[in-house]
Amino acid sequence: MVQTPVKTVTKLPPSSHEFAPVIHRLEAGGAMLPDTPENLMQIIGLYKAYAVPMDFYWRDLLYIAEQVFLEPFPFFKYFLSQEYLDRHNHYAGDDADLRIWRGEATAHPELLAFMEKGETFKMPKLFHHLWHDRINMEFAEACMRAMLWHRGMGGQFDPYLDTDEYKANADRAIKAYFKFNPVMLGLYKLFPDMFLEQVRQLSYYANLGLFWEVMAPVFFEMSDRYDEGSIKSVPEAMNFLVNGIFAIAGRPIYHHVYIRGECYEIIPKSKGFMWLYEAALPYVEAVFYRTAPFRGTKSYNAQAKQVPEDQKDFHYGILYADVFPVGTAGIPPTQLMQDMLHFLPPYLVDYYSQHCRGEDDMLIQLGISFQRSMYCVTSAVIQALRTALLYPLDDPNPKHLMANRKFFEAQMDRFKRPEARLRDIQRQDYR
């Protein structure tokens, strides 16, 4: 196992945990992912490849939550309006609230180029859509649904969706949206809960959109810094993420809807829902840890007992996922890997072409790199939580260090199950 170069004097006896080397690395300020140049190249390259489609995801998620809203036939919900393509990211560009990325605040140039030509050639947007030569927004929606379906993962945002206040706000927006549509208003009268549930889902659209609005510039900036040579190790990459998390932690999570030019605040900013607790942590829990088994990996037959009865025991997120089925039509991992494939930096294309089946299995190779990169992100989240809830890594008090260790060990316990890929990512030949 490769040791991190970050050294601290450990005043505790070695951990007896199954993942003791990883825990020692975390205690030394490192990540779960070993610090090697190869790992660093993979995770940074993937952050960049992920950030470009993510720039579409967050814009379209907000577009759907704010503009498409309850459209009964949302055939064109992936046809992002120019307004949303030009919408300024709050963490990039000159007018940023907090400038994380030094690039432009509008849609990324590579994204715009891809939207125009796709994998094929320039043609009307409708043909690109029908030919499926486009960004796979279905992946973003799958992530959103994972958050909605699991719910109850802590924070105040999710309980708020069941409050009378939220229902009243949603009711106002629904009635305004269908003001001139008596059929839909009649349906709303008959099935109010169905409409409310749709609005809850749209609130999660907004939640995830606002979460990714932050992550895209973070990843772009990391990629730029790696290219410039100012990020040289996995711990440095992780620390950039930790600092980013703290810098943006308080960003408000809200859900506004625009109906005939008027803004309806279904979840007002004044509720004070914070990005870290209401979006980032539920997202990590739902998407990195839990999600749901995708087709071809588990039997849904209840008698086979391959799927846990309790949702909190789900373990199909990217940290556990078998990446080998990537390529199977229609499953979310394939959609994401296909999206990232279009924006891989050249050094990663060269790297992948030298391993396994070269270009033929690049989707799986990049999927495994993505898995590594998400272990780095999760490491950042774990370190951020430790910073927020516990003690510094160089705390002189052994009791505090022991509390940190217990925390790390508790986190690592989640990777004890055989499906977890923590063991695999320690090996460089896992590709």
Partner: protein, 503 residues
């Protein structure tokens, strides 16, 4: 014309074996492939020249070789042998193409394959009984070497077993031929001069029994089959294609040509017993295949089962069943070839043939998706799914045999369902499920490795959708065969024919 099919491979073998200078294995393969292509094209040309309305021998050649022995270089092809000649040329081409670029000892390997082709073609066109035996024995030596040198782990054992069994088969056939010629008082071993009708019934029964055992080993029929699983499994993929695809057909061809045609009176007597043996082979092959854990061995046992259909059809001796028998010979050759090729690709890439280890090969990126898809297709063809050649052949066999042997035919139909059982087992475990993450770093399948299976799959589909192209060559011959068979049958035999129907 037919001599070309015998001598062109010999010239090819000499050219590859003794070409001056140092040549890479791939270049020698290319030369062998050029000769195989020539043989294949010549076969197609023969198809084009073949008179579909004539039932007798065509393209005849005759040279009196050793008249004192009654041996002549007498060749001819009819609707029975012509499809098998084309099949032989095609599978030889596939075997050479599918051998890959890096075969060891190419100067020996490719000549041996070409010699096998030459001997098999000679046996299919020989119209002199001694000449047939000569060719029949001639293929034995190169095939023995091909198994013994390029085979698997137990190649020595398998090759020796094959050699002993097939040599015994040759001796029995030779003994029967000598008996037929000498006892009938024929001064020649020419096929058309042999007349067994005047021999006492007991003598005829003894001779045909010896002949049946001889060819039964080659086919093979249960319980003479024990050489087959070892030989097929230990032989390399191209040699297994030759063994299962063509060589086994020598047995069924001989049974019809020298059994049914030379013993028309006695055939009706042995037919019920033969049908039972055929059914036993079918059921045994299917049940044993279900029990296998090695996919190549499973395919080998499936071969025993499918050859059983031909026996039942030949025993029934109706125009439709004989047509079905010829169709099944070709169909079985094509399907077995594609199965062996694909199993070979799987073994080469994954490194195992074990059902308990293989899994998830249908995986679209890291698996062998096209190979798996073709394997599914081959399994469907073997199980007789409509739209593919296996259905046509099996349907004709069942339709043609039912009137003569209803119970054995019904048992065959049930057994064809068992084919689906073992192929579902094979495909379910091999192609479906999850890839093993720690093992599944298989090399990709290159297009040249896919090409043979794609060609065979295309032919399997084409003949399944256009069965006339499979059967038109044989219809006149098989109809004439049955007419001659019925004319020759005496009242005593006619009674015997009716017996099974009354059951």
């Amino acid at each position: 014309m037919l001599s070309t099919l015998i001598w062109l491979p010999v010239v090819g073998a000499v050219a590859v074996g003794f070409l001056p200078g140092n040549h890479t294995a791939n270049r020698l393969r290319f030369i062998a492939l050029a000769f195989a292509s020539g043989i294949l094209l010549w076969s197609f040309w023969l198809l084009r020249q073949f008179d579909l309305t004539a039932s007798g021998l065509q393209f005849q050649e005759y040279i009196s070789w050793i008249p004192q022995l009654g041996l002549s270089y007498s060749l001819g092809a009819d609707g029975l042998s012509l499809p098998l000649l084309v099949l032989s040329a095609l599978l030889t081409w596939i075997a050479i193409y599918g051998s890959g670029e890096g075969v060891e000892r190419p100067r020996l390997y490719y000549p041996l394959i070409l010699l096998v082709n030459s001997a098999i073609a000679g046996a299919f066109v020989a119209q002199n009984l001694l000449l047939f035996v000569l060719f029949y024995e001639l293929e034995l030596i190169p095939l023995y070497l091909l198994i013994a040198i390029w085979g698997g782990e137990k190649r020595g054992y398998a090759a020796m077993k094959f050699l002993i069994y097939t040599a015994v088969s040759g001796i029995l056939i030779l003994a029967a031929f000598l008996g037929m010629a000498w006892l009938s008082g024929s001064g020649s071993f020419d096929w058309n001069s042999i007349a067994t009708g005047d021999l006492p019934l007991t003598t005829q029964l003894v001779l045909i029994t010896v002949l049946l055992v001889g060819f039964g080993i080659k086919i093979p029929l249960v319980p003479l089959h024990t050489w087959l699983p070892d030989a097929y499994v230990e032989a390399s993929q191209p040699v297994a294609i030759l063994l299962g695809g063509i060589l086994a057909k020598l047995g069924t061809y001989g049974l019809v040509r020298f059994g049914l045609q030379l013993f028309p009176e006695t055939w009706a007597l042995v037919a019920p017993g033969l049908a039972i043996i055929g059914v036993v082979s079918v059921i045994y092959g299917a049940l044993t295949a279900i029990a296998q854990k090695d996919i190549k061995r499973m395919v080998a046992y499936s071969s025993i089962g499918h050859m059983g259909y031909i026996i039942v059809a030949a025993a029934a001796g109706t125009p439709l069943s004989l047509l079905g028998a010829v169709g099944q010979m070709v169909s079985h050759g094509l399907i077995l070839a594609i199965l062996f090729h694909l199993v070979g690709v799987v073994e080469k890439k994954v490194g195992t043939r074990e059902l308990d280890v293989l899994n998830g090969l249908m995986n679209p990126i890291r698996g062998l998706p096209l190979t798996s898809a073709l394997l599914v297709l081959a399994g469907m063809a073997s199980a007789g799914i409509p739209g593919m050649v296996g259905f046509i052949a099996e349907f004709l066999v069942f339709q043609g045999s039912f009137s003569a042997f209803p119970v054995p035919t019904l048992l065959c139909i049930i057994s064809s369902g068992l084919t689906a059982v073992y192929f579902v087992i094979l495909l379910n475990r091999t192609c479906f499920g999850r890839l093993n993450n720690s093992l599944a770093y298989y090399p990709k399948v290159r297009w040249p490795e896919r090409t043979p299976a794609l060609i065979l799959a295309a032919i399997i589909f084409f003949l399944g959708l256009q069965p006339a192209w499979l059967l038109r060559w044989s219809e006149a011959t098989t109809t004439a065969m049955v007419a001659a068979f019925e004319t020759a049958s005496n009242p005593q035999v006619a009674t015997a024919i009716e017996l099974p129907a009354k059951k």
